[in-house]
Amino acid sequence: MPIWDFLEIYGARLASGTLVTCAQFVLAAVIAIVVALLAGLGKLSKNAVIRGVSTVYIEAFRGTSLLVQLYWIFFVLPLFGLTLPKFVAGFVSVGLNVGSYGAELVRGAIQSVPKGQWEAAYALSMSPARRMRRIILPQALALMLPPWGNLLIELLKGTALVALISVTDLMFQAKQINASTFLSAEAFGSALVIYYILARFLITPFMRWMERVIARRLGRA
């Protein structure tokens, strides 16, 4: 079957899958960013309990597979009385997984802000919270944006796994089409191309744009 006919018949299903993938991506990204910020700051905290919790979270999620985490959250958490719908379980696991990698980026970026900036803020008698918010974090943000671009592409790729708990994302639709038609090259091939387009022509340019905006706001453009 020519690829055009294939797309005419199954294009709508692929498109609906792409929408679900985009939704998963955005929700997981929000969770990842929030959790990365909390755990990254937590790891630098003076409080041993907060530091310990952050370290355990980071090591546990970085040390195991996303798929293991996904299955654990979907199949085992209900035994503890917390049942998440598959759509929620999907983006929560992906978000928590990527958040643990992001936490290390946050921590590294905060530690790379020059010492003079910390001292200057201290000399101006800023409170620690204010110093973090107004002086350190904006500069750390500029440092960590490029690696976050890569991480968000990893996150997009991670969302493909939610198909394995039957979230009807792009990967799931490609699998379904393959199962009913055996047009494997067309089904999986077009899904690959769609993921590539999302990563290369949406996420990457968006992150480049963000880098420029942040550089301008910091007066470095």
Binding site: E59, L66, Y71, N178, A185, F188
Partner: protein, 222 residues
Amino acid sequence: MSFNWRWDFTWEILPRLLLATLNTLIAAGAGYAIALVLGLILALAQRTGWRPITVAVREFVEFIRSTPLVLQIFFVFYVGPQFGIRLSPWTSGMIAIGLHYSAYLSEVYRAGIDAVPRGQWEACRALNMSTRDTYVRIVIPQALPPSIAGMGNYLVGIFKDTPMLSVIGVAELMHTANAIGSESYRFLEPFTLVGLIYLAISLPTAGLIRLFEGWVRRKLGM
């Protein structure tokens, strides 16, 4: 069903899971071996200076890096038979995972080679060394130590990505845990054990890689 951890069940399934861990390690090792070699080829292909090859390889690497591994595994496994090539789950799994990580490793190699100062290349030129000697005796030994951290990260990465092979029926750890779960309707113990086994292997490995990196640096007098 509620939360109750059963130790007798744990001891019953642990040997089976440990056996599957062996499969996981073999899969990770074989995939990594493919990725190491293929990655070097991809990295060197980008240095040939012949533009069409450089651009094509570059795009290929970008494509592999920005699409999901599960999808690539499915692609390799299902597309072959459509054209009359039948691959076993193991073979297609190794091809997919090896190819995926070769793209990542080629970037590590590339960064390592780029980090070798220009003067080193020029010195080789001045000493009239052949290209082969330049790479083997001067460039690669210096490109290696800064690459080890990245290479090690991807070794742990490939190990953590092997569960994806379960989707095409490679009997590794996750596949076995799934099978145990559907036989006994107990998911708590198998999935938790799988998580713990992964932690027990990947955390020490990450530590060992750091030690190894220090050892190589000292060996090369850096």
